[in-house]
Symmetry: C2
Subunit: 359 residues, 2 copies
């Protein structure tokens, strides 16, 4: 794959030096660092010791978790920037998981119509997905990332240094996005990923897999930054994932994004099998991996109409009351913009429940 | 000047036909029209009769006036789009003055990370300035356009048809931005503009002047869409204008944007004379025109520190506690990014009060 344009993403174990060098190259009028209450406690003090730029930065803190990725939190960041006299040549460092990088990037890309920002993902999920590719946003009206911008970070600085502090749940959540990239890239990449389990905690192995995974995404984004077509490949599994996440939030019991993606990949693979003869061997390899590593998200058939209603809001749908899915003919062979019917989705959800032992 | 790239701005007296043709060319999944309570009453019913696209559109209405250009109004527009199942291929028509086009463009450029929008300015101010050039935004934290994006309308449709309904105050407000473009363009353009007074109500003459004025702006924006340098020419008069507007809002007695620009142009011309020997004849022609057409915005020297504090937040300032002004060596000879001191601004405000009869 073409990695020539990945220069704004850096993999390093000298994260503080990289941050300082990047900030220094921008000659900013002021430096701000966005954290959530978790990274404020666990990561920020350490980074303030290691990085001159972060030591001198004005911290802005927001409540953690996807259910706090709101207009109110966005407004809080804007207000802190404004009150502390941030200018167009100030820089915002987003230090945290995907919620911090998504919301912080949106705030920076709109404050004074855009100031530079740097993403320093502290979770595997943010490293593999959220911080790379220029999608920013917040949840709104009960819908994930309903508003946002396309806006690139000046630099994305990825280090496995942070990953040692992550729980198995957080690692699995990120790994699901890597599985998605594997399915999009090739059967070989997919099978290589299935051979690894996050419990192994082999940091070197994980870093190699992660670099390849980010490169898969970056190659797609470089060709279609605004999601006019090809980039929709990256939405594999996400229509259902977002619906599951919305329902989980309504139940006051949110699930990690990557877990929702894992379940969504199973539903997408089922639909792919129904419509494109996606190989059943690959489908079962996927569903077995998901079932043993991620369990299942419990849904009943009574909830199907509500799930369909949520899916009808999906950004990929070009027309109301239609459902545009990204599906696969086989691993590595993506079919974007596939129209599926409500009946097909319903049937696929039935099979999902079977495969993951819910029925 | 180069007008080759002005194709997304159309001057027409067949505004409904142009709207319908533009909407039709987008094959949208849904059409939405943003109005404020004023244009909802006065313009929308007429346009619903004339335009099929607007007749079929879902109206979204917000409270009028710059003090309603808020996060709350923005959130309302996002919610209406979301609740009514707008998709990425829906289109939003912004039908109103600069507040409607600024806020509507910001909402559209961020809803689902960006949907197409069309600006149909109904005021001279919006036609000459707000709807052209891709600046979107809302006021925030007491500061004008503190958040927003750079995002181009698919089309800007300008018609003098709406101008017959405008008050003299509204016409004068727009005309001040035309004076600004004249000062930026050349002494000849500036003097041609001084020879016209909006009370003449010569629509053909005004349309000619307007076309030239939009072309001045468009030529600058085309060369520097993101305001990296040259475009700051268009901020002439605006640092002081925004400060006056903020103070007027604090006094619960807002002034029209163009009036603030007229006063700001006088202060900028005074500073230009102090720092660059801008010709005093031109300065006096300007201040006489402003005094007789716009009166003056009353300020006392006790308010200078507060005005300076507001100016210190200006988006053009690259560093805190400095003041970057756009000034003129002569009409047509712009000096962007001129650092001025608080003492110089204070002196210029004194002279402004003298020139406009306030002292």
């Amino acid at each position: 794959m073409d990695t020539s344009k990945t220069s704004n993403t850096v993999f390093t174990n000298h994260v503080a030096e990289e941050i300082d060098a990047t900030v220094s190259s921008l000659s900013p009028s002021g430096v701000f660092v966005l954290v959530d209450r978790n990274t404020e406690d666990t990561v920020l003090p350490r980074m303030q010791m290691l990085s001159k730029a972060i030591a001198s930065a004005t911290p802005i803190s927001i409540a953690p978790g996807d259910d706090n990725k709101t207009v109110d939190a966005l407004t809080h960041v804007w207000k802190q920037l404004s009150d502390n006299h941030a200018t167009r040549s100030s820089v915002l460092i987003n230090l945290g998981g995907g919620m911090v990088t998504d919301l912080g990037s949106f705030a920076a890309s709109t404050f004074k119509r855009g100031i530079p920002f740097i993403n320093v993902p502290t979770t595997l999920l943010a490293a593999v997905d959220a911080s790379v590719g220029g999608k920013t946003g917040i949840n709104f009206n009960g819908l994930k990332n309903e508003v946002g911008t396309f806006s690139d970070a000046r630099k994305v600085i990825i280090s496995t240094m942070f990953f040692n502090t992550l729980s198995m749940t957080q690692l699995r959540s990120g790994y699901a996005e890597m599985l998605k990239h594997g399915l999009i890239d090739s059967g070989q990449t997919f099978n290589t990923l299935l051979a690894y389990h996050v419990e192994q905690q082999d940091t070197d192995r994980l870093l190699t897999l992660l670099k390849d995974s980010v490169a898969v995404k970056q190659a797609i984004v470089d060709q279609d930054p605004r999601e006019a077509g090809l980039r929709r490949a990256l939405n594999l599994g996400h229509t259902v994932a977002h619906a599951f996440e919305s329902v989980a939030i309504e139940r006051k019991s949110p699930i990690p994004h990557g877990y929702a993606v894992a379940y969504g990949l199973v539903v997408a693979a089922v639909l792919s099998h129904m419509k494109f003869d996606f190989p059943s061997t690959e489908l079962h390899k996927l569903s077995d991996y998901v079932r043993s590593n991620y369990g299942a998200f419990a849904i009943t058939c009574d909830e199907y109409p509500h799930l369909l209603d949520i899916m009808s809001h999906d950004k990929k749908n070009l027309y109301p009351d239609t459902f545009n899915f990204t599906l696969l003919r086989a691993p590595g062979d993506v079919a974007t913009d596939t129209l599926v019917t409500p009946a097909e989705i319903t049937a696929a959800l039935d099979i999902y429940r079977d495969l993951l032992g819910l029925a």
